[in-house]
Protein backbone atom coordinates (compact mmCIF):
# COMPACT_ATOMS: atom_id res chain seq x y z
CA UNK A 1 0.00 0.00 0.00
CA UNK A 2 0.90 3.62 -0.41
CA UNK A 3 2.50 4.20 2.97
CA UNK A 4 4.70 1.12 2.59
CA UNK A 5 6.02 1.82 -0.88
CA UNK A 6 6.49 5.52 -0.35
CA UNK A 7 4.66 6.34 -3.57
CA UNK A 8 1.16 7.65 -2.91
CA UNK A 9 -1.32 5.64 -4.93
CA UNK A 10 -4.22 7.53 -6.42
CA UNK A 11 -7.58 6.02 -7.22
CA UNK A 12 -10.11 7.29 -9.71
CA UNK A 13 -13.74 7.20 -8.60
CA UNK A 14 -16.66 7.65 -10.95
CA UNK A 15 -20.04 8.94 -9.80
CA UNK A 16 -23.33 7.72 -11.27
CA UNK A 17 -23.55 10.93 -13.30
CA UNK A 18 -20.13 10.19 -14.82
CA UNK A 19 -17.98 12.66 -12.94
CA UNK A 20 -14.42 11.48 -12.28
CA UNK A 21 -12.56 12.15 -9.04
CA UNK A 22 -8.96 11.47 -8.05
CA UNK A 23 -8.40 10.56 -4.43
CA UNK A 24 -5.44 9.18 -2.47
CA UNK A 25 -5.91 5.49 -1.84
CA UNK A 26 -5.03 6.00 1.82
CA UNK A 27 -8.04 8.33 2.19
CA UNK A 28 -10.40 6.38 -0.08
CA UNK A 29 -10.05 3.15 1.88
CA UNK A 30 -11.97 4.72 4.76
CA UNK A 31 -14.76 3.26 2.67
CA UNK A 32 -14.88 -0.46 3.33
CA UNK A 33 -16.55 -0.91 -0.05
CA UNK A 34 -13.58 0.74 -1.83
CA UNK A 35 -11.04 -1.02 0.40
CA UNK A 36 -12.49 -4.39 -0.55
CA UNK A 37 -12.20 -3.49 -4.23
CA UNK A 38 -8.58 -2.43 -3.72
CA UNK A 39 -7.78 -5.62 -1.85
CA UNK A 40 -9.47 -7.73 -4.53
CA UNK A 41 -7.35 -5.99 -7.14
CA UNK A 42 -10.35 -4.45 -8.91
CA UNK A 43 -9.20 -0.89 -8.39
CA UNK A 44 -6.78 -0.69 -11.27
CA UNK A 45 -8.83 1.47 -13.55
CA UNK A 46 -11.81 3.59 -12.72
CA UNK A 47 -13.97 2.60 -9.74
CA UNK A 48 -17.63 3.10 -10.62
CA UNK A 49 -19.85 4.10 -7.68
CA UNK A 50 -23.31 3.55 -9.11
CA UNK A 51 -25.26 4.80 -6.10
CA UNK A 52 -23.56 8.14 -5.53
CA UNK A 53 -23.97 11.33 -7.56
CA UNK A 54 -21.11 13.72 -8.29
CA UNK A 55 -22.17 16.43 -5.88
CA UNK A 56 -22.38 14.00 -2.98
CA UNK A 57 -19.20 12.17 -3.96
CA UNK A 58 -17.28 15.45 -4.03
CA UNK A 59 -18.46 16.13 -0.52
CA UNK A 60 -17.58 12.62 0.69
CA UNK A 61 -14.09 12.96 -0.81
CA UNK A 62 -13.61 16.29 0.98
CA UNK A 63 -14.49 14.42 4.17
CA UNK A 64 -12.16 11.50 3.35
CA UNK A 65 -9.23 13.84 2.78
CA UNK A 66 -10.00 16.00 5.79
CA UNK A 67 -10.45 13.22 8.30
CA UNK A 68 -7.49 11.12 7.13
CA UNK A 69 -5.20 14.14 7.50
CA UNK A 70 -5.96 14.18 11.23
CA UNK A 71 -3.75 11.92 13.34
CA UNK A 72 -5.32 9.40 15.70
CA UNK A 73 -7.06 11.85 17.99
CA UNK A 74 -10.75 11.15 18.50
CA UNK A 75 -11.46 14.62 19.90
CA UNK A 76 -10.01 16.37 16.84
CA UNK A 77 -11.74 13.97 14.45
CA UNK A 78 -15.02 14.61 16.18
CA UNK A 79 -14.67 18.37 15.94
CA UNK A 80 -13.71 18.05 12.27
CA UNK A 81 -16.86 16.01 11.64
CA UNK A 82 -19.02 18.52 13.53
CA UNK A 83 -17.62 21.39 11.53
CA UNK A 84 -17.84 19.50 8.24
CA UNK A 85 -21.55 18.79 8.78
CA UNK A 86 -22.51 22.09 10.39
CA UNK A 87 -23.54 23.94 7.21
CA UNK A 88 -25.19 21.02 5.38
CA UNK A 89 -28.90 21.17 4.71
CA UNK A 90 -31.26 18.26 5.17
CA UNK A 91 -31.21 17.12 1.53
CA UNK A 92 -27.40 17.03 1.47
CA UNK A 93 -27.30 15.16 4.74
CA UNK A 94 -29.82 12.64 3.46
CA UNK A 95 -27.78 12.06 0.29
CA UNK A 96 -24.67 11.68 2.42
CA UNK A 97 -26.15 9.12 4.74
CA UNK A 98 -27.19 7.04 1.73
CA UNK A 99 -23.70 7.39 0.26
CA UNK A 100 -22.01 6.57 3.57
CA UNK A 101 -24.18 3.50 3.83
CA UNK A 102 -23.35 2.37 0.27
CA UNK A 103 -19.66 3.11 0.75
CA UNK A 104 -19.72 1.39 4.16
CA UNK A 105 -18.13 4.25 6.10
CA UNK A 106 -19.32 3.75 9.63
CA UNK A 107 -17.79 6.90 11.14
CA UNK A 108 -19.44 9.14 8.55
CA UNK A 109 -22.66 7.17 8.80
CA UNK A 110 -22.84 7.67 12.58
CA UNK A 111 -21.99 11.35 12.38
CA UNK A 112 -24.47 12.11 9.59
CA UNK A 113 -27.32 10.15 11.13
CA UNK A 114 -26.70 11.91 14.46
CA UNK A 115 -26.75 15.25 12.64
CA UNK A 116 -30.01 14.37 10.87
CA UNK A 117 -31.53 13.37 14.20
CA UNK A 118 -30.42 16.70 15.63
CA UNK A 119 -32.07 18.55 12.75
CA UNK A 120 -35.29 16.53 13.15
CA UNK A 121 -35.62 16.79 16.91
CA UNK A 122 -37.99 19.74 17.10
CA UNK A 123 -39.58 19.39 13.68
CA UNK A 124 -43.26 18.91 12.97
CA UNK A 125 -44.94 15.83 11.60
CA UNK A 126 -45.68 17.72 8.37
CA UNK A 127 -42.01 18.63 7.90
CA UNK A 128 -40.98 15.00 8.28
CA UNK A 129 -43.57 13.85 5.75
CA UNK A 130 -42.36 16.41 3.20
CA UNK A 131 -38.66 15.84 3.72
CA UNK A 132 -38.84 12.07 3.79
CA UNK A 133 -41.45 11.93 1.02
CA UNK A 134 -43.88 10.00 3.17
CA UNK A 135 -47.49 9.61 2.30
CA UNK A 136 -49.82 10.06 5.24
CA UNK A 137 -51.84 6.85 5.36
CA UNK A 138 -53.83 7.77 8.44
CA UNK A 139 -57.44 8.77 8.02
CA UNK A 140 -58.08 12.27 9.42
CA UNK A 141 -59.88 10.65 12.39
CA UNK A 142 -56.99 8.24 13.08
CA UNK A 143 -54.44 11.02 12.85
CA UNK A 144 -56.43 13.23 15.21
CA UNK A 145 -56.68 10.34 17.67
CA UNK A 146 -52.92 9.67 17.60
CA UNK A 147 -52.19 13.36 18.07
CA UNK A 148 -54.69 13.68 20.88
CA UNK A 149 -53.25 10.65 22.67
CA UNK A 150 -49.75 12.13 22.64
CA UNK A 151 -50.67 15.80 22.83
CA UNK A 152 -47.76 16.70 25.13
CA UNK A 153 -45.21 15.65 22.47
CA UNK A 154 -46.46 18.45 20.21
CA UNK A 155 -45.35 21.15 22.64
CA UNK A 156 -42.23 23.07 21.68
CA UNK A 157 -42.30 22.08 18.01
CA UNK A 158 -40.65 24.54 15.61
CA UNK A 159 -42.81 26.27 13.05
CA UNK A 160 -42.00 24.90 9.62
CA UNK A 161 -39.63 26.98 7.57
CA UNK A 162 -38.60 24.06 5.39
CA UNK A 163 -34.92 24.62 5.93
Amino acid sequence: MAAETGTPTTLTLKSNDDELFSVAESAAILSVTIRNMVEDGCAGGVIPLDNVDGKTLASVITYMNGISAIPADEEKKKSYRDKFLSDKDFETLADMVLAANYLNMSCLMDAVSAKIAQVMEKKSVGWVRRKFGIENDYTPEEEAAVKEEHKWTFEGVETDDDN
Partner: protein, 373 residues
Protein backbone atom coordinates in the same frame (compact mmCIF):
# COMPACT_ATOMS: atom_id res chain seq x y z
CA UNK B 1 -34.92 11.23 -1.53
CA UNK B 2 -38.18 9.59 -0.58
CA UNK B 3 -39.53 6.07 -0.53
CA UNK B 4 -36.17 4.60 -1.37
CA UNK B 5 -34.82 5.52 2.03
CA UNK B 6 -34.20 2.00 3.36
CA UNK B 7 -35.85 0.98 6.61
CA UNK B 8 -32.60 0.02 8.34
CA UNK B 9 -31.07 3.42 7.55
CA UNK B 10 -34.19 5.13 8.83
CA UNK B 11 -33.94 3.16 12.09
CA UNK B 12 -30.29 4.16 12.37
CA UNK B 13 -31.38 7.80 12.43
CA UNK B 14 -34.48 7.37 14.54
CA UNK B 15 -32.66 5.55 17.39
CA UNK B 16 -30.74 8.76 17.95
CA UNK B 17 -33.87 10.80 18.65
CA UNK B 18 -35.25 11.53 22.12
CA UNK B 19 -38.38 9.73 23.25
CA UNK B 20 -40.62 12.80 23.03
CA UNK B 21 -39.76 13.35 19.36
CA UNK B 22 -40.24 9.69 18.53
CA UNK B 23 -43.68 9.60 20.08
CA UNK B 24 -44.63 12.71 18.09
CA UNK B 25 -43.41 11.01 14.92
CA UNK B 26 -45.75 8.04 15.43
CA UNK B 27 -48.23 10.46 13.82
CA UNK B 28 -46.17 10.65 10.58
CA UNK B 29 -47.63 7.46 9.12
CA UNK B 30 -48.73 4.00 10.07
CA UNK B 31 -45.40 2.53 9.04
CA UNK B 32 -43.45 5.02 11.15
CA UNK B 33 -45.72 4.17 14.04
CA UNK B 34 -45.08 0.48 13.63
CA UNK B 35 -41.30 0.98 13.36
CA UNK B 36 -41.15 3.20 16.45
CA UNK B 37 -43.34 0.98 18.59
CA UNK B 38 -41.77 -2.33 17.53
CA UNK B 39 -40.02 -4.34 20.21
CA UNK B 40 -36.82 -4.47 18.14
CA UNK B 41 -36.71 -0.70 17.74
CA UNK B 42 -37.47 -0.09 21.42
CA UNK B 43 -34.58 -2.41 22.35
CA UNK B 44 -32.10 -0.79 19.98
CA UNK B 45 -33.15 2.70 21.06
CA UNK B 46 -32.54 1.66 24.64
CA UNK B 47 -29.09 0.25 24.00
CA UNK B 48 -28.18 3.30 21.94
CA UNK B 49 -29.26 5.52 24.82
CA UNK B 50 -27.86 3.66 27.78
CA UNK B 51 -24.61 5.58 27.79
CA UNK B 52 -26.33 8.84 28.60
CA UNK B 53 -26.21 8.69 32.32
CA UNK B 54 -29.14 10.32 33.95
CA UNK B 55 -30.07 10.13 37.59
CA UNK B 56 -33.56 10.03 38.96
CA UNK B 57 -33.86 11.95 42.21
CA UNK B 58 -36.83 11.75 44.48
CA UNK B 59 -37.45 13.77 47.60
CA UNK B 60 -40.14 15.53 49.58
CA UNK B 61 -40.06 19.20 50.36
CA UNK B 62 -39.39 20.14 53.96
CA UNK B 63 -43.03 20.91 54.61
CA UNK B 64 -44.64 18.92 51.88
CA UNK B 65 -45.18 15.21 51.92
CA UNK B 66 -45.70 14.97 48.17
CA UNK B 67 -43.00 13.26 46.19
CA UNK B 68 -40.98 15.33 43.79
CA UNK B 69 -39.19 13.60 40.95
CA UNK B 70 -36.31 15.23 39.09
CA UNK B 71 -33.98 14.07 36.37
CA UNK B 72 -30.36 15.07 36.77
CA UNK B 73 -27.99 14.93 33.84
CA UNK B 74 -24.72 13.82 35.39
CA UNK B 75 -21.35 14.92 34.14
CA UNK B 76 -19.73 12.41 31.83
CA UNK B 77 -16.34 11.99 33.46
CA UNK B 78 -17.63 10.01 36.45
CA UNK B 79 -17.03 12.86 38.89
CA UNK B 80 -19.79 14.55 40.77
CA UNK B 81 -21.47 17.14 38.63
CA UNK B 82 -24.98 18.00 37.57
CA UNK B 83 -25.29 19.54 34.14
CA UNK B 84 -29.00 20.07 34.22
CA UNK B 85 -31.97 19.24 36.31
CA UNK B 86 -35.60 18.99 35.30
CA UNK B 87 -38.74 18.19 37.19
CA UNK B 88 -40.95 15.34 36.05
CA UNK B 89 -44.68 15.61 36.07
CA UNK B 90 -46.46 12.85 37.90
CA UNK B 91 -49.36 11.82 35.72
CA UNK B 92 -51.26 9.89 38.35
CA UNK B 93 -52.51 10.32 41.83
CA UNK B 94 -51.09 7.91 44.25
CA UNK B 95 -53.38 7.18 47.18
CA UNK B 96 -50.84 7.56 49.97
CA UNK B 97 -48.01 10.05 50.34
CA UNK B 98 -44.46 8.92 50.78
CA UNK B 99 -44.28 6.55 47.90
CA UNK B 100 -40.86 5.09 47.37
CA UNK B 101 -38.92 3.75 44.45
CA UNK B 102 -38.74 -0.02 44.35
CA UNK B 103 -36.36 0.05 41.43
CA UNK B 104 -35.53 1.58 38.08
CA UNK B 105 -34.68 -0.48 35.05
CA UNK B 106 -34.59 0.37 31.32
CA UNK B 107 -36.51 3.59 31.84
CA UNK B 108 -39.22 1.97 33.94
CA UNK B 109 -39.63 3.12 37.50
CA UNK B 110 -41.47 0.92 39.95
CA UNK B 111 -43.10 2.79 42.83
CA UNK B 112 -44.78 1.49 45.91
CA UNK B 113 -46.56 3.23 48.75
CA UNK B 114 -46.67 0.48 51.32
CA UNK B 115 -43.76 1.79 53.34
CA UNK B 116 -45.80 2.41 56.44
CA UNK B 117 -49.21 0.96 55.93
CA UNK B 118 -51.08 -0.85 53.25
CA UNK B 119 -54.77 -1.11 52.78
CA UNK B 120 -55.19 -4.36 50.82
CA UNK B 121 -58.08 -2.90 48.84
CA UNK B 122 -56.04 -0.01 47.45
CA UNK B 123 -53.50 -0.68 44.71
CA UNK B 124 -50.04 -0.06 46.05
CA UNK B 125 -47.57 -0.70 43.26
CA UNK B 126 -47.22 0.93 39.86
CA UNK B 127 -44.73 0.65 37.02
CA UNK B 128 -44.19 3.99 35.35
CA UNK B 129 -42.22 5.24 32.38
CA UNK B 130 -41.89 9.00 32.91
CA UNK B 131 -40.44 9.53 29.40
CA UNK B 132 -43.46 8.12 27.59
CA UNK B 133 -45.81 9.32 30.34
CA UNK B 134 -47.47 5.98 30.74
CA UNK B 135 -47.90 3.78 33.75
CA UNK B 136 -49.69 0.67 34.79
CA UNK B 137 -51.19 -0.05 38.16
CA UNK B 138 -50.42 -3.56 39.34
CA UNK B 139 -53.25 -5.78 40.50
CA UNK B 140 -53.42 -6.36 44.21
CA UNK B 141 -50.88 -8.84 45.49
CA UNK B 142 -52.22 -12.20 46.59
CA UNK B 143 -50.16 -12.84 49.71
CA UNK B 144 -51.80 -10.82 52.47
CA UNK B 145 -51.47 -12.66 55.77
CA UNK B 146 -53.69 -11.42 58.58
CA UNK B 147 -50.74 -11.60 60.95
CA UNK B 148 -48.38 -8.67 61.19
CA UNK B 149 -45.84 -8.92 58.42
CA UNK B 150 -43.01 -7.21 56.62
CA UNK B 151 -42.99 -6.76 52.84
CA UNK B 152 -39.80 -6.38 50.78
CA UNK B 153 -39.98 -5.58 47.07
CA UNK B 154 -37.59 -5.71 44.15
CA UNK B 155 -37.91 -4.68 40.50
CA UNK B 156 -35.87 -5.61 37.46
CA UNK B 157 -35.56 -7.74 34.38
CA UNK B 158 -32.88 -8.63 31.92
CA UNK B 159 -32.39 -10.80 28.88
CA UNK B 160 -35.92 -12.07 28.65
CA UNK B 161 -37.09 -8.45 28.40
CA UNK B 162 -39.82 -9.25 30.84
CA UNK B 163 -39.83 -6.84 33.74
CA UNK B 164 -40.77 -8.31 37.07
CA UNK B 165 -41.63 -7.26 40.57
CA UNK B 166 -40.69 -9.71 43.29
CA UNK B 167 -42.48 -9.48 46.62
CA UNK B 168 -41.25 -11.15 49.79
CA UNK B 169 -43.63 -11.39 52.71
CA UNK B 170 -42.14 -12.14 56.11
CA UNK B 171 -44.67 -12.90 58.84
CA UNK B 172 -43.74 -11.75 62.33
CA UNK B 173 -43.43 -14.44 64.94
CA UNK B 174 -46.26 -14.27 67.42
CA UNK B 175 -44.05 -14.99 70.41
CA UNK B 176 -41.41 -12.46 69.42
CA UNK B 177 -42.48 -9.44 67.39
CA UNK B 178 -38.87 -8.53 66.70
CA UNK B 179 -38.46 -11.75 64.77
CA UNK B 180 -39.60 -12.59 61.28
CA UNK B 181 -40.32 -16.11 60.09
CA UNK B 182 -38.11 -17.49 57.38
CA UNK B 183 -38.39 -18.43 54.62
CA UNK B 184 -40.70 -15.64 53.45
CA UNK B 185 -43.59 -16.27 51.10
CA UNK B 186 -42.73 -15.02 47.63
CA UNK B 187 -44.79 -13.91 44.65
CA UNK B 188 -43.79 -12.46 41.31
CA UNK B 189 -45.54 -10.07 38.97
CA UNK B 190 -44.44 -10.18 35.33
CA UNK B 191 -45.07 -7.33 32.92
CA UNK B 192 -46.06 -9.77 30.16
CA UNK B 193 -49.38 -10.40 28.48
CA UNK B 194 -50.88 -11.97 31.61
CA UNK B 195 -49.88 -9.17 33.95
CA UNK B 196 -50.68 -11.07 37.10
CA UNK B 197 -49.08 -12.24 40.34
CA UNK B 198 -47.98 -15.82 40.75
CA UNK B 199 -46.54 -17.60 43.76
CA UNK B 200 -42.94 -18.72 43.65
CA UNK B 201 -43.22 -22.13 45.23
CA UNK B 202 -39.97 -23.94 44.59
CA UNK B 203 -36.52 -22.59 45.25
CA UNK B 204 -37.41 -20.26 48.09
CA UNK B 205 -34.62 -21.31 50.37
CA UNK B 206 -34.22 -17.95 52.03
CA UNK B 207 -33.00 -17.83 55.59
CA UNK B 208 -32.20 -14.12 55.55
CA UNK B 209 -34.28 -11.13 56.54
CA UNK B 210 -34.04 -8.62 53.75
CA UNK B 211 -34.17 -4.98 54.79
CA UNK B 212 -36.86 -2.89 53.18
CA UNK B 213 -35.53 0.63 53.34
CA UNK B 214 -34.53 2.36 50.11
CA UNK B 215 -30.78 2.43 50.38
CA UNK B 216 -30.62 -1.23 51.31
CA UNK B 217 -31.18 -2.36 47.75
CA UNK B 218 -28.93 -2.40 44.72
CA UNK B 219 -29.66 -3.67 41.24
CA UNK B 220 -26.96 -4.87 38.91
CA UNK B 221 -27.04 -7.08 35.83
CA UNK B 222 -30.50 -8.49 36.33
CA UNK B 223 -30.02 -9.26 40.02
CA UNK B 224 -31.47 -7.29 42.90
CA UNK B 225 -29.52 -7.27 46.15
CA UNK B 226 -30.88 -6.40 49.56
CA UNK B 227 -28.91 -5.84 52.69
CA UNK B 228 -30.10 -8.55 55.02
CA UNK B 229 -29.64 -10.08 58.41
CA UNK B 230 -29.08 -13.65 59.36
CA UNK B 231 -31.66 -14.22 62.12
CA UNK B 232 -30.09 -14.97 65.48
CA UNK B 233 -30.13 -18.38 66.91
CA UNK B 234 -28.77 -19.62 70.22
CA UNK B 235 -25.26 -20.11 69.01
CA UNK B 236 -24.80 -17.34 66.54
CA UNK B 237 -25.19 -13.61 66.90
CA UNK B 238 -27.15 -11.63 64.33
CA UNK B 239 -24.93 -10.82 61.39
CA UNK B 240 -25.16 -8.78 58.24
CA UNK B 241 -25.40 -10.36 54.80
CA UNK B 242 -26.74 -9.74 51.29
CA UNK B 243 -29.76 -11.49 49.80
CA UNK B 244 -29.82 -11.64 45.99
CA UNK B 245 -32.62 -12.44 43.56
CA UNK B 246 -31.94 -13.23 39.92
CA UNK B 247 -34.95 -12.08 37.88
CA UNK B 248 -34.24 -14.23 34.84
CA UNK B 249 -33.89 -17.54 36.62
CA UNK B 250 -36.08 -16.56 39.56
CA UNK B 251 -33.65 -17.90 42.15
CA UNK B 252 -32.42 -16.48 45.41
CA UNK B 253 -28.86 -16.55 46.62
CA UNK B 254 -26.63 -15.08 49.30
CA UNK B 255 -23.73 -12.79 48.51
CA UNK B 256 -21.25 -12.72 51.36
CA UNK B 257 -20.35 -9.25 52.63
CA UNK B 258 -16.80 -8.27 53.60
CA UNK B 259 -15.62 -10.28 56.62
CA UNK B 260 -15.35 -7.16 58.71
CA UNK B 261 -19.03 -6.38 58.19
CA UNK B 262 -20.21 -9.94 58.74
CA UNK B 263 -19.22 -9.63 62.38
CA UNK B 264 -21.64 -9.02 65.14
CA UNK B 265 -20.95 -5.43 66.00
CA UNK B 266 -21.14 -3.99 62.54
CA UNK B 267 -23.78 -1.80 61.03
CA UNK B 268 -24.33 -1.49 57.32
CA UNK B 269 -25.93 1.63 56.07
CA UNK B 270 -26.31 1.05 52.41
CA UNK B 271 -25.63 -0.96 49.30
CA UNK B 272 -24.88 0.70 45.97
CA UNK B 273 -23.41 0.07 42.55
CA UNK B 274 -20.34 1.72 41.06
CA UNK B 275 -19.62 0.70 37.46
CA UNK B 276 -21.43 -2.64 37.76
CA UNK B 277 -19.72 -3.54 41.03
CA UNK B 278 -21.52 -3.87 44.35
CA UNK B 279 -20.53 -1.32 46.95
CA UNK B 280 -21.43 -1.55 50.60
CA UNK B 281 -21.04 1.11 53.25
CA UNK B 282 -20.62 -0.15 56.76
CA UNK B 283 -19.47 0.95 60.14
CA UNK B 284 -17.21 -0.83 62.58
CA UNK B 285 -18.50 1.52 65.27
CA UNK B 286 -15.40 3.66 64.86
CA UNK B 287 -15.63 4.84 61.29
CA UNK B 288 -17.59 4.43 58.08
CA UNK B 289 -15.92 2.33 55.42
CA UNK B 290 -16.77 1.99 51.75
CA UNK B 291 -16.19 -1.46 50.27
CA UNK B 292 -16.36 -2.66 46.69
CA UNK B 293 -16.77 -6.23 45.45
CA UNK B 294 -14.36 -6.10 42.52
CA UNK B 295 -15.32 -9.51 41.19
CA UNK B 296 -18.96 -10.37 41.43
CA UNK B 297 -19.70 -13.06 44.02
CA UNK B 298 -16.02 -13.51 44.90
CA UNK B 299 -15.91 -12.89 48.63
CA UNK B 300 -12.15 -12.36 48.67
CA UNK B 301 -12.48 -9.55 46.13
CA UNK B 302 -14.10 -7.13 48.62
CA UNK B 303 -11.75 -4.18 48.74
CA UNK B 304 -11.92 -1.26 51.12
CA UNK B 305 -12.07 1.81 48.87
CA UNK B 306 -11.77 4.37 51.63
CA UNK B 307 -12.68 5.35 55.16
CA UNK B 308 -14.88 8.38 55.54
CA UNK B 309 -13.15 11.06 57.50
CA UNK B 310 -15.86 13.39 58.75
CA UNK B 311 -16.57 14.79 62.17
CA UNK B 312 -20.26 15.35 61.54
CA UNK B 313 -22.81 12.63 62.08
CA UNK B 314 -23.77 10.86 58.87
CA UNK B 315 -27.44 9.95 58.78
CA UNK B 316 -27.78 8.39 55.34
CA UNK B 317 -25.89 7.46 52.21
CA UNK B 318 -27.78 8.32 49.05
CA UNK B 319 -25.56 7.71 46.01
CA UNK B 320 -22.02 7.05 44.81
CA UNK B 321 -20.42 8.50 41.70
CA UNK B 322 -18.00 6.42 39.63
CA UNK B 323 -15.21 8.59 41.01
CA UNK B 324 -16.06 7.25 44.48
CA UNK B 325 -17.55 10.56 45.61
CA UNK B 326 -20.50 9.99 47.94
CA UNK B 327 -23.79 11.82 48.23
CA UNK B 328 -24.77 11.61 51.87
CA UNK B 329 -26.85 13.38 54.46
CA UNK B 330 -25.41 14.90 57.59
CA UNK B 331 -27.43 15.68 60.67
CA UNK B 332 -28.47 19.35 60.79
CA UNK B 333 -26.79 20.05 57.47
CA UNK B 334 -28.67 18.06 54.83
CA UNK B 335 -27.31 16.67 51.63
CA UNK B 336 -23.59 16.98 50.85
CA UNK B 337 -21.13 15.53 48.38
CA UNK B 338 -18.12 13.95 50.08
CA UNK B 339 -14.87 13.76 48.15
CA UNK B 340 -12.69 10.93 49.52
CA UNK B 341 -9.49 12.43 48.14
CA UNK B 342 -9.78 15.92 49.57
CA UNK B 343 -11.92 14.68 52.50
CA UNK B 344 -14.04 17.74 51.95
CA UNK B 345 -17.76 18.16 51.50
CA UNK B 346 -19.64 20.47 49.23
CA UNK B 347 -23.22 21.55 48.81
CA UNK B 348 -24.77 19.96 45.69
CA UNK B 349 -27.61 22.49 45.74
CA UNK B 350 -30.32 19.87 46.25
CA UNK B 351 -32.75 20.55 49.06
CA UNK B 352 -35.59 18.75 50.77
CA UNK B 353 -36.46 16.57 53.72
CA UNK B 354 -33.11 14.94 54.58
CA UNK B 355 -34.64 11.50 55.09
CA UNK B 356 -36.45 11.54 51.78
CA UNK B 357 -33.56 11.73 49.29
CA UNK B 358 -33.28 8.81 46.96
CA UNK B 359 -31.28 8.50 43.75
CA UNK B 360 -31.31 5.79 41.12
CA UNK B 361 -29.97 5.36 37.61
CA UNK B 362 -32.34 6.33 34.86
CA UNK B 363 -32.37 6.03 31.10
CA UNK B 364 -34.94 7.43 28.68
CA UNK B 365 -36.73 4.61 26.94
CA UNK B 366 -39.80 3.74 24.89
CA UNK B 367 -40.66 0.69 26.96
CA UNK B 368 -44.38 0.74 27.75
CA UNK B 369 -45.11 3.30 25.00
CA UNK B 370 -48.79 3.35 24.20
CA UNK B 371 -49.75 1.44 21.12
CA UNK B 372 -46.95 -1.11 21.60
CA UNK B 373 -47.95 -4.75 21.51
Amino acid sequence: MSDYFPADLLSEILVKLPVKTLIRFTAVSKSWRSIITSAAFIASHLSNNSENQTLLLTRHGKHCKLDQFSLLKASENGNFGINSSSEIEIPFEFPIDYSRIVGSCDGLVCLSNDMFFRNPSIPSIIIWNPSVRNHIVLPNPTINPIESHNVVLGFGGLSSNVYKVVRLVYVRKIDDVGCLSVPPQVEIFSLDARRSWRRLIGGVDVTLWALKSMHCRAYVNGVVHWLAYKPFDENQPRRCSILAFDFDNEVFGEVMPPDELAKEASVSLGIFVIEDSLVIVGSNMVSWNVWMMKEYCVRESWTKLYTIDLLEEITNFVWFWNSGEALLTIRDLGLVVYNPETKETKDPGIYGDPYSFFVDNYVESLVLVRGHG
